[in-house]
Chain length 316, copies 2
């Protein structure tokens, strides 16, 4: 807890980031110097996690770091991009050695796992928050605005686990150690769908990562592409953990709960056989239709229009 300057913090805890291709100069100067792959189209995204809002104030620092980077990597996956490098802007109440050790360990382990290089950062004193900006490169970007009526809508994997886990993560519900661990894994270690994204990129017309809830996020594709979506809620792949924790509410959580970071993507009718042959684990959950009026998502259960209790995460 000794008084420590910005420069010491960055050097002591984060400069151990491994050297990476294209990183001419990493942490420690006014700027990082980066050589992008020749002809690369870069994809970049920034996300802030605020303590008490996106993670509990007292959460394990390594887990928080891992989640922060994974959430950002998910944006690269949703764009069809391969990770290159990232920066960290860390605001923290004090230079707490133990916290910083845990945080840097979690961050650098995750960075190694996904092959992304930490190239710069800033630390400031203030209420705990973490801003990460990731940059990747892509040859076939998966935008939100490329979907067309007639496309099939897919999700990359089971939904609902992270939002069902939330009461446990927040310690509002007491369960046995094994279940607690599973809940924390679902929340803190979402899997950025980079491998799947590589496989589907040649076929997908649009993609988004499910951070705010399937129906809300698919709504962004609909508005960007000017289409409506018909979603069969009964077809959603519901995470086993969500069923175990939320019982009958699990399907609603799969439709509306955020934080799973699966991908939702669209495929033109002609490419559906090729997509199915990938055996990617993705599930068809509906299709796109002409937006006669306003682009929107129409959910159905047992063939009837269905409205969830909640429609996605709002930041304000």
């Amino acid at each position: 807890m000794a008084a420590t300057g910005e420069f010491d913090i960055i050097r002591e805890y984060f400069a151990a980031a491994p050297a990476a291709e294209g990183v001419v100069l990493g942490i420690g100067d006014d700027c990082a110097l980066l050589q992008p792959p020749a002809g690369a189209l870069l994809a970049t995204s920034v996300d802030t996690l605020v303590a008490g809002r996106h993670f509990p104030e007292q959460a394990d620092a390594a887990k928080v770091a891992s989640r922060a980077l994974r959430v950002n990597l998910s944006d690269l996956a949703a764009m069809g991009a391969e990770p290159l490098w990232f920066t960290l802007a860390l605001t923290l109440p004090s230079a707490d050695r133990k916290w910083l050790q845990g945080f840097s360990r979690g961050l650098l382990e995750t960075a190694r796992e996904y092959g992304i290089a930490l190239v710069g950062g800033d630390t400031t004193a203030g209420p705990l928050s973490i801003t990460i900006q990731v940059t990747g490169h892509t040859t076939k970007p998966l935008r939100r605005d490329g979907a067309r009526a007639g496309d099939s809508v897919y999700v990359s994997g089971p939904l609902g686990a992270a939002s069902a886990a939330l009461p446990l993560v927040l310690r509002k519900r007491k369960v046995d150690a094994e279940l607690q661990q599973a809940a924390e894994a679902a929340f803190y270690w979402p899997e950025p769908q980079l491998t799947l994204c590589r496989a589907i990129a040649p076929l997908a017309t649009a993609a988004i990562d499910i951070s705010d809830g399937l129906l809300a996020d698919l709504g962004h594709i609909c508005r960007a592409s000017g289409v409506c979506a018909e979603v069969d809620v009964d077809a959603l792949p519901v995470a086993a953990l969500a069923r175990e924790l939320a019982g009958e509410s699990a399907r609603e959580l799969a439709a509306t709960g955020g934080d799973d970071y699966q991908l939702c993507f669209c495929v033109a009718e002609a490419d559906v056989p090729a997509l199915e042959q990938l055996h990617s684990g993705a599930t068809c959950i509906g299709r796109l239709v002409d937006a006669a009026g306003e682009p929107q998502v129409m959910a159905y259960r047992r063939g009837r229009r269905w409205s969830p209790q909640q429609t996605g995460y709002q930041h304000f």
Copy 2:
């Protein structure tokens, strides 16, 4: 103050950012898509400004925005880089319409002035803080580690104004309206030294922008380059506003006060005549010598070793 989602805030207040070369896709998707100039070496830097620490909580939003972007542009100047694009991660207590209007106006005006494009962002609820990441490109990067013993040390312009202005900015001292305005200009509108940086880049061996105070920041060059610096404090160009506000303390503020964002740079002896012929307004303030022991800055006044009361801004 109505409940407003992240997407609406970004769209409503910041999507008016002008289109720019190389920006294939700006705000509104999972990632921005960016086409760097062919063969470009990219320079990138991130900085967080926290309310109550880097600017007063009640400060005018347009001014805060302008300062936040200028401070980051200064890092590009210090690296010898031309601005390309930037992202904004904004954490704010509520979706205050008036504040957001002022902030976006100040931000986008500054962006236009310096030809940098806003390409992405994130807004979250929480204690007010602003994280900006700028990216530029360079063919001749100005690193901190290129200085050598024998180099002359220069500063790009007058120092001390911003730190002398701080008591006025914080309303701890009452002055007439004209002086108040000059003080706020010094603090909120520092001039990123992009034009000067273009001129000196072929000649400079190292550079840094003075954010934490001349002696502290020159110390970073010394440590990175393995040299000592001898600085003649009597030779420092002291800002007129610093003299007006701080009287006899002005010279010490010029040596140690932060926030001016002038450049400190080094030039090899053989290149000094060429540098002087640029008539850049830069002032020679000392020279680099071999670091017999630890690399450090040795300041002198009237020929005698001098130690300031404070040695630069520490974040913790």
